[in-house]
């Protein structure tokens, strides 16, 4: 911990420098924008990342002298996390750096009658512009995938999608010069290798650290083992906005570069804990298209831009989507505490509801995910009331290894079926050593009823969860046959779409 003195939060807002202190560390970016800056174009529709009305565009150094840009939900981002970053809001979108697509989009929205009450509109404008700016508006489907985290209750979306398509066709101007200049400006306002912020909140004094390298993180967390780690804040943000929890020490790990790599060694992939869902998406899709499709439907783009792979595991949720998908793949987890590193099978991390195998001061470093072998078949299917941006009622992921016709190993992992993401050991045992045929599926379905007693809640009843889980085994079997029934979510194209 080299730097003990508290610093102001320094960032650029619509191109202007800001240096802020005196705000509680858990002040959300949205509140700051609306109440302190009086930039009221950015709206609050839910304060939990689900409606997109609060979308702003964040830029930061990518570590290689360039810029990384992504739209996020301002309602669940904490203000100190903006240190060293640049924020663009709907009022000045792109204008201060010569990116002129925003006006074309605005015009297309107005002329195309894409706003009615207008409350959702700024969020759509920022999200569409940012997606275009980031090269993600490739076609109509991409437009829809990019706005699946933006809710509109009035229009029925058609005119918004049309406006997005108009923008998608517009060539992106070359802003490299401006980007480099912005990167340099951001470099100039960095606060050093460890940013440290102190504040007073209504719940008491607060301390915020943002280290840039993993050793510093290990040191700081060692010294403050009760601290809350904040990665993408897509969970932690809600602890503040929804549960109104007081957090006193926070460690922002979103700046730790060592945690942001994706690497491949000998057919095994390594995802740093800080890799965002957006960054992980393509590599996951490359393992199997079902994973790409799952990630396309995982939250909305803004949440995927902030939320991390590590956070999706570390939060220990029984309904997180990545854990079952990765458990089925045989993933392993790397944990570090101080100087000590250990590795364990991912499923072992989830001890019971609300309890993980993680010591105070210990953090997730990376995930190790083996690719599929030629003799392995994989299947992942997310079931939710709404296809996009919904928490799963059931997340099923299966990997079967075949020895000729016979199943030699079965990994059947489920989310939403128990207090933790869990493998179906009875059903797995039933499947091994025999062909994966209708009879085997029927037996495995019966065994599933021994593996799980799922709960009933607002997402689904116990009976439905079990029935759907059982039927997904049959679906997997059918998908391995010539019949290959299409999935409903991607029905129009008849096949899964792997990129977003």
């Amino acid at each position: 911990m080299s730097d003990q003195s508290a610093q102001p939060i320094r960032f650029l807002l619509n191109g202007e420098a800001r240096s802020v202190s005196g705000q509680p560390a858990t002040t959300t970016l949205l509140r700051y924008l609306r109440e302190t800056e009086r930039l009221t174009g950015t709206k609050e529709g839910c304060a939990e990342g689900d409606c997109g009305a609060c979308t702003v565009l964040i830029s930061e150094n990518d570590g290689n002298g360039g810029l990384k840009r992504r739209p996020v939900n301002a309602c669940i981002q904490f203000l100190p996390a903006m240190n060293g970053r640049a924020i663009e809001t709907v009022e000045k979108l792109g204008s201060h750096r010569g990116a002129d697509g925003a006006d074309a989009l605005r015009e297309a929205m107005v002329e195309g009658h894409a706003s009615q009450c207008g409350f959702c509109t700024p969020g759509f404008v920022v999200q569409l512009f940012s997606a275009w700016d980031g090269g993600k508006l490739t076609d109509r489907q991409a437009v829809k995938d990019q706005i699946s985290g933006n809710l509109c209750r009035c229009t029925g979306y058609g005119p918004i999608i049309d406006a997005g398509e108009t923008l998608a066709k517009l060539p992106k101007p070359d802003t490299l010069g401006e980007d480099l200049a912005l990167a340099k400006r951001l470099g100039d306002i960095q606060n050093g290798a460890i940013f440290r912020y102190e504040a007073e909140s209504s719940g008491g004094p607060q301390l915020w650290f943002a280290p840039e390298n993993v050793d510093d993180l290990a040191d700081i967390y060692g010294a403050h083992p009760d601290a809350t780690l904040v990665a993408g804040a897509t969970d932690v943000g809600l602890w503040v906005t929804k549960q109104h929890r007081d957090l006193s020490v926070l460690i922002d790990i979103s700046k730790v570069r060592d945690l942001q790599m994706i690497e491949e060694r000998l057919g095994v992939l390594y995802f740093g804990a800080g890799v965002t869902h957006t960054e992980a998406l393509e590599t996951l899709a490359d393992i199997h298209p079902d994973l790409g499709e799952m990630m396309r439907r995982f939250a909305g783009a803004q949440i995927r831009n902030a939320g991390t792979v590590g956070g999706n595991i570390a939060n220990g949720s029984p309904i997180g989507d990545l854990p079952p998908c990765l458990i089925a793949l045989g993933a392993r987890l790397y944990l570090r505490k101080g100087e000590d590193m250990r590795v364990l099978d991912l499923e072992r991390f989830f001890v019971e509801y609300g309890k993980q195998d993680r010591a105070p001061g210990e953090f997730v470093v990376a995930l190790e995910v083996p690719r599929l072998e030629d003799d392995q078949r994989y299947f992942a299917h997310k079931i939710s009331k709404r296809f996009d941006s919904d928490i799963s009622a059931v997340m099923a992921a299966f990997r079967l290894t075949f020895d000729g016709e016979l199943v030699s190993e079965a990994r059947l992992a489920f989310g939403g079926m128990a207090g933790v993401p869990k493998r179906a050991s009875h059903a797995e045992a039933v499947l091994c050593g025999r062909p994966f045929d209708a009879v085997a599926v029927r037996d495995a379905q019966a065994a599933l009823a021994e593996d799980f007693r799922p709960l009933t809640d607002m997402r689904a009843s116990s009976e439905y969860r079990l029935k759907a889980a059982q039927n997904l085994l049959e679906r997997f079997r059918l998908e391995l046959t010539a019949e290959r029934p299409a999935r409903i979510a991607g029905f129009e194209t008849g096949e899964a779409r792997g990129t977003a």
Partner: protein
Amino acid sequence: MDETRIQDRSGAGEPSIAELGERPPTHERAIKGGVHTKRIHDSGVKHVSGAARYVDDEPELPGTLQIYIAMSEKAHARIVSLDVSKVRDVPGVACVLTANDIPGQNDYSPVFGDDPIFPQTSGPEALVQYVGQPIFAVAAETIDLARRAAKLAIVEYEELPAAITIEQALAAAGEAGHDLLDPHEMRIGDVDAALEGAPHRVLGRVAVGGQDHFYLEGQIAYSIPLEDGDVLVRSSTQHPSEVQHNVAKMLGVPDHAVTVEVRRMGGGFGGKESQPALFAAVTALAAVKTGRPVKCRLDRDDDMEMTGKRHEVTINYAVGFSGNGRIAAGDFSHLVRCGYSRDLSAAIADRAMFHADNAYSLPAARILSRRLKTHTVSNTAFRGFGGPQGMVGIERVMDRIAFETGIDPLDVRKVNLYPSFDSDRAPGVTPYHMPVTDSIIAELVEELEVTSGYRARREAIRQFNAQSPVLKKGLALTPVKFGISFTTSHLNQAGALVHVYKDGSVHLNHGGTEMGQGLFVKVAQVVAEEFQIDIEKVKITATTTAKVPNTSATAASSGSDLNGMAAQAAARTIKNRLIDYACGRYHVPEEQVVFAANRVLIGNEEKRFADLVGEAYLARISLSSTGFYATPDIHYDRESASGQPFYYFAYGAACSEVVIDMLTGEYKLLRADILHDCGTSLNPAIDRGQIEGGFIQGMGWLTMEELWWDDKGRLKTHAPSTYKIPTANDRPDDLRIAIWEKGENRSDTIYRSKAVGEPPFMLAISVFSALTDAVIAAGDGKAFPDLDAPATPERVLKAVEGVRG
């Protein structure tokens, strides 16, 4: 160009009338933004730049306090004691409000006086009746402080038995010996005899869930104390006059002491009709008590727990029909889940009954409606106002008859449609004894059948299903007939206020509110058309009770019908004065004063509109007028359950195609074709927006939007994380929307247009019927499914399992 030429400053010299008009008028062929044009939304440019201001965006005055409302944790309980002393002691808390602080009436209900702002703190009325019911409020320097302080209150409850579901409500009503509101029955013909005599008869039941409005902007009110104890309230409301009245009633002051203003809402959908009065009242009370401005902006979860929703309804039906599918008699009973209080439930349950026939002429019918009390939030207005629930019943009947007879569901629907207004057949008569004299539904359905390619697609789907073991498709074409007018007849009135300034610019105000539906631009188009001036010359202004009094809610799709007429009347009064002036001054007969695009032809002369206005001002002609409109010819007698409650009907039809997965119950809407009647549309672009938005919202209601209460009466779907409204990918890419080109209102409405806010919502019933069709296919046509709404994947799978036995 049109700068003011008339200076009032003394010394500038008296301008003479002759000096005006020295610049020749321009000669456009038509004005910009007249009626029947696709004018953009007046706030569109502001929406996309973030400049459009909603209540929370207005700068707060210094000293503004924030309100947190503490809510009941019990569904039904007596409050044994409420101790807020610790709350009061928290530094930064300006005041704590309970029932004891209310100087006037402790009620924010629209009609019946049974919605307490806060429960009494002792005595028999110290009662909470739903989880989320406000108990007390804290006004503090910040919302965090207010929320934190509220936690220090000590509330002691004595729990009482609670009815959460319709079944429990029925049991409780049986015990109590009465329902929340008296039952109502409509009846035509001899139903029992007709049922008895019909060749075929079936009984069934369908349950239809409620719906949260999920307006993107939550409930909000901001009260500013004025002198004399008056208050100015900025409220996000569809009903400023009612908010005004309820605030005044609560404060114990005359209505004139309270002014309510609303520029725009971030969505309303009925959820901002009776609900906003609560938040307005709480802020006004705190403002008067503290002398400081006070804001209450609800968090989304609090909003969803505290405010009313669409009524859940269970419909039992018995229907008799002949071999060709023609209905002989329909007997419906509606069990309506009203929540804890009456609110607008009487009128909503009535409207469900008014639409139990939808577009079908029933020779004999009986509709019985029971309005049940549950210990849940009081259900309220929501787009369609009960109509959609009523319609689902008869559309289910159509699907059922088709199943029983083996006739295509479309053909069953067609033999039962109301005869066309121009057909040889006598008009059909509704179960409330109103002849349907404007029906165009048969022709419209016929046209959609062709343009949607219904028959060919029916065949293609049959083939698809025959060779697809896991996925099944379904298709349905359903009509909509929706009655336009408030069924409470006196509400069908509206006022407007128009000023013409001496530079020729116009200030427009009326009693309607803007929630995104495009009312303001439509009414501005009417005024522009009347004066024949470009729409930019017409300033649209915030609705306020200080300019137009005693308004009705902007609801029942009536906004443009009523306010358009009232504004036209106001403009016409001024226009007539201008004509009179011109006739007198230029000695021409009336018919030689003609308003053309931005100019006025007077005999052989032409003047710019602004110049004529300037002249009229100098000639001391009044350039301001109110306008008023009351819908003619409507009445309904509740005693005899008969009358003419609607001025006219709006029609439409939709054809939807879905695919379901028999293993998971997942489904998708693949294509929808819509043909909708807007009369001669005032603004086809705005109307199209209402059609698409209404359809998708209706689809959400019948498919994924599920309200889920636990057995303690706690709503567990109280945020977008758990309550799922449609997203962009739920909208089918193949969505073909057409406005019926032959549309013309047979009643004398504003430019013969038709109301369009609610009717398209019900086009989504086609999706529900298509899902039913697909589930029938999943059972190889052997059984009729038991599919309730919302048809979540879980319900679809259950229905599939049901038909497969």
